[in-house]
């Protein structure tokens, strides 16, 4: 701006280089230095301009000719005032928009105070409520608060559930675990840990490696019984214990057990095994000496008498994923599950050991039937296409990603199938199905559009 004005060579004016002295604000301030230095009197601008006007010197810059000279005042008054806070304390209320233009000199706190002071009371309250809401949401979801909420017995009730994960199957001393076995175990454990952390349950990882305790005894593979017992002791608040084999993967971690099964237990379970009866068990028991409840196909028909929930696959009971409820009844079942007399007579037939023993108990003992219920297999125990595949794909048995099945159990993958491959595929599928909206936007819209435009695939 200063250079748009040419220097006015006025004799005695003292403006040796006016560009330096005309301040950006357009006002010239009298400087004492000049008057002291060369004795010239202080000149005010009006006088100077006047003198410049009527001086005989030719000048290419005439008075009132320049745009800035003419509009200086108007322009400058509409420009922001950088030290408004200091100079115009009274004008604040009249010009609320000015605050947003405040210069860097005003501290943040002061500016905020200014905003607040200018705000109406109602607005303040509304803002406060909004802030409070955001704060509580952040507090709830970004702190352990949500965890404790879901865990506490009278809010979320997560403490009532314990997951037992059978790790290290057949490993340990008997057999070296390869990289794949380690990877399977790592993925499976991580999956359960995440699920448990999300919903406030407890996770108990048990070591199924063949122990010395069982190695010379018949009871091998009845370790389940001992582990369930010790977990009931270890977690005194647990009501339900969920047994999971190692080769399982929770595909939908957003399903809580409460929502998925237990809040509506009577709707989900079936107690009349005739609904799906691959073993052709005669049901109900018809012996005359039994009471009506024992002879009824559904026990007492009340969901709170269900103490054991399992699912059936194509060949009968499946104990890869089942629930037991803490009750005197379960103590009795765990107690009689293994019996030397039964084992001695049946061990040649019992290929699946404890699973067959349970089938035997279910078949012969009315008190077991009364408290056992079944879930449709795909609610807790979907199979990949490789398992139970003799009769092709069965909608009752096999995983379908369209239905977003809860859990997949790669049962029997250690016999001739690729456990790690299946685990990997299901893990990736689970991540894919549970992408967050931002990932969906990136991958389903942006990446696709990019592919169509450029013909190149991108990973965002």
């Amino acid at each position: 701006m200063s250079l748009s004005r040419s220097p006015s060579p006025v004799p005695g004016g003292g403006w040796s280089s006016p560009g330096l002295n005309i301040s950006t604000s357009g006002r010239s301030s009298p400087t004492r230095g000049y008057s002291g230095a060369n004795g010239t009197p202080v000149m005010w601008e009006s006088a100077r301009l006047k003198r410049a006007g009527d001086s005989g010197y030719p000048s290419f810059s005439t008075q009132n000719k320049g745009f800035f000279t003419r509009h200086m005042r108007r322009l400058s008054s509409s420009l922001p005032r950088f030290n408004a806070g200091n100079f115009y304390p009274d004008e604040k209320k009249d010009k609320p928009s000015q605050g947003s233009w405040s210069g860097p000199k005003v501290p943040l706190l002061g500016r905020l105070r200014g905003i607040l002071a200018r705000m109406g009371r109602k607005m303040k309250i509304r803002l406060m409520m909004l802030l409070l809401l955001i704060l509580s949401i952040v507090l709830f979801y970004n702190t352990p608060l949500v965890y404790y909420w879901r865990r506490s017995p009278w809010l979320g009730g997560g403490q009532k559930f314990v997951i037992i994960l059978a790790a290290n199957v057949g490993g340990g001393v008997m057999e070296w675990k390869g990289a794949r076995e380690w990877a399977i175990e790592r993925d499976s454990v991580r999956n359960k840990k995440k699920y448990v952390a999300k919903w406030g349950y407890d996770l108990e990882i048990v070591d199924m490696s063949t122990k010395k305790r069982y190695a010379h005894e018949w009871r091998e593979s009845w370790e389940k019984v001992d582990f369930i017992r010790s977990s009931l002791r270890k977690y005194p608040k647990a009501e339900w214990i969920w047994w999971l084999d190692l080769n399982t993967f929770i595909m939908e971690p957003t399903y809580s057990l409460q929502d998925h099964i237990f809040n509506n237990l009577e709707k989900h379970v079936y107690r009349d095994i005739n609904e799906y009866n691959p073993l052709n068990i005669t049901h109900p028991i018809t012996d005359d000496f039994l009471d009506a409840e024992s002879r009824s196909p559904v026990g007492d028909g009340n969901a709170n008498s269900v103490n054991l929930i399992l699912s059936q696959d194509c060949s009968g009971f499946n104990l890869g994923s089942f629930f037991v409820r803490r009750s005197p009844w379960i103590d009795r079942l765990l107690d009689v599950w293994w019996d030397p007399v039964a084992y001695e007579q049946k061990h040649m037939e019992w290929e699946h050991k404890e699973q067959d023993a349970l089938e035997q108990l279910y078949t012969t003992q009315p008190w077991i039937r009364k408290h056992t219920a079944f879930l449709p297999q795909r609610m807790i125990n979907s199979f990949p296409t490789g398992a139970c595949s003799e009769n092709g794909n069965d909608t009752r048995i096999h995983y379908d990603k369209k239905d977003r099945d809860f859990l997949v159990n790669m049962a029997g993958c250690e016999w001739g199938r690729d456990c790690w491959g299946e685990m990997y595929n299901f893990r990736e599928l689970s991540y894919y199905l549970n992408r967050n909206p931002w990932e969906r936007f990136k991958e389903d819209l942006v990446a696709v559009a990019w592919y169509k435009l450029t013909g190149r695939k991108v990973k965002l």
């Binding site: 009278w154 000496f289 005197p328 009795r332 007399v341």
Partner: protein, 320 residues
């Protein structure tokens, strides 16, 4: 200037003062009330949410009849007069504790007689009928408090004694119970629990010199009783050829399954299981509850044993 009194208040009400409709319901108070109401609703919601489902409660028997006496008769092997004599003994005892003594609400003892051949034992020895008959009695009398199983070769000798008072009463039972004692004498490593209280006991049984005795025992009605009897009657036990059938099966269950042992009260044989001959166990003495004709295996033998006691129990029953 000083006035004697402060100036009077104007009798004209000031303008613009809004008359409250209800004194307590100002705008600000309304807000407080609304907030309190909301908090209350939240509290109600939290307290009444479906908290899963109620806990399972097993059926509590009303105690009518208090005791059912169960005996299984083998009518194929033994003659009818002999068995009728024993039935008569049971019925008379039950009647003694029926209508005669109580004033208003009479809950008499009941008898339940099983019969060999009534039940399909799948080829197991006929003595297994004893077990299934008890289970059947539970079905027939779901409200009974106790079931007393007494072998067919036995008389009830003392009509004064009752099951509730002299056997199952918690304080009495605590006196009677033999604690920390091998369940199968002499050297089983499984011993009866020593911490049990009288009310924990659902199953009262005795031992004789051979081991556990299933001639006479008492079971408290409930879920546990059904579990225990059905387990005892398991087809795999029946098919196992235990030497003494259900008696050895009982010994097996008691030793291998702690949920059974934890409900078991071992009492002296004299309490409800005295024998007519002392070679196998405690011999009957005057005043004992029962006498069991042990070691007899035909109508003739058993009847001879029974005749020694018939007169005695009949006179005892008449005198009381």
């Amino acid at each position: 200037m000083h006035f004697a009194y402060p100036p009077r208040k104007s009798s004209n009400p000031p303008p613009y003062l809004r008359a409250a409709k209800l004194p307590g319901l100002r705008r600000s108070r309304l807000k407080v009330i609304a907030a309190a109401g909301f908090a209350f609703l939240v509290l109600i919601y939290l307290l009444t949410r479906p908290a899963g489902h109620g806990h399972y409660k097993s059926y509590v028997p009303t105690g009518n009849p208090p005791v059912v006496i169960v005996t299984a008769f083998d009518e194929m092997k033994y003659d009818k007069p002999y068995l009728d004599m024993i039935k008569d003994n049971r019925i008379q005892y039950a009647e003694k504790h029926g209508t005669g003594k109580c004033a208003d609400l009479c809950l008499g003892y009941k008898t339940f007689f099983g019969k060999v051949g009534d039940y399909d034992l799948k080829g197991a020895p006929s003595s297994w009928t004893n077990v299934v008959a008890v289970r059947h009695a539970l079905t027939e009398f779901p409200d009974c408090k106790f079931i007393w199983y007494l072998d067919q070769h036995a008389f009830i000798m003392n009509p004064e004694l009752t099951i509730e008072e002299h056997v199952m009463k918690a304080s009495k039972l605590e006196d009677l119970m033999i604690k920390d004692y091998p369940v199968v004498p002499p050297d089983s490593i499984i011993k009866t629990f020593s911490h049990l209280k009288g009310q924990d006991i659902d199953f009262v049984v005795t031992q004789d010199k051979d081991g556990m005795s299933a001639n006479s025992y008492v079971i408290r009605n409930g879920d546990w009783a059904r579990f225990f009897l059905e387990t005892w009657f398991d087809p795999l036990y029946r098919s196992y050829n235990f030497q003494r059938a259900e008696t050895h099966a009982l010994e097996h269950i008691v030793q291998w399954h702690p949920t059974v042992l934890a409900r078991l009260g071992l009492v002296p044989q004299r309490t409800l299981n005295t024998y007519s001959r002392g070679d196998k166990g405690v011999e009957y003495q005057e005043g004992d509850f029962t006498v069991i004709f042990n070691g007899c295996s035909s109508t003739k033998e058993c009847d001879a044993e029974a005749q020694r006691y018939v007169e005695r129990w009949r006179s005892e029953f008449k005198s009381t």
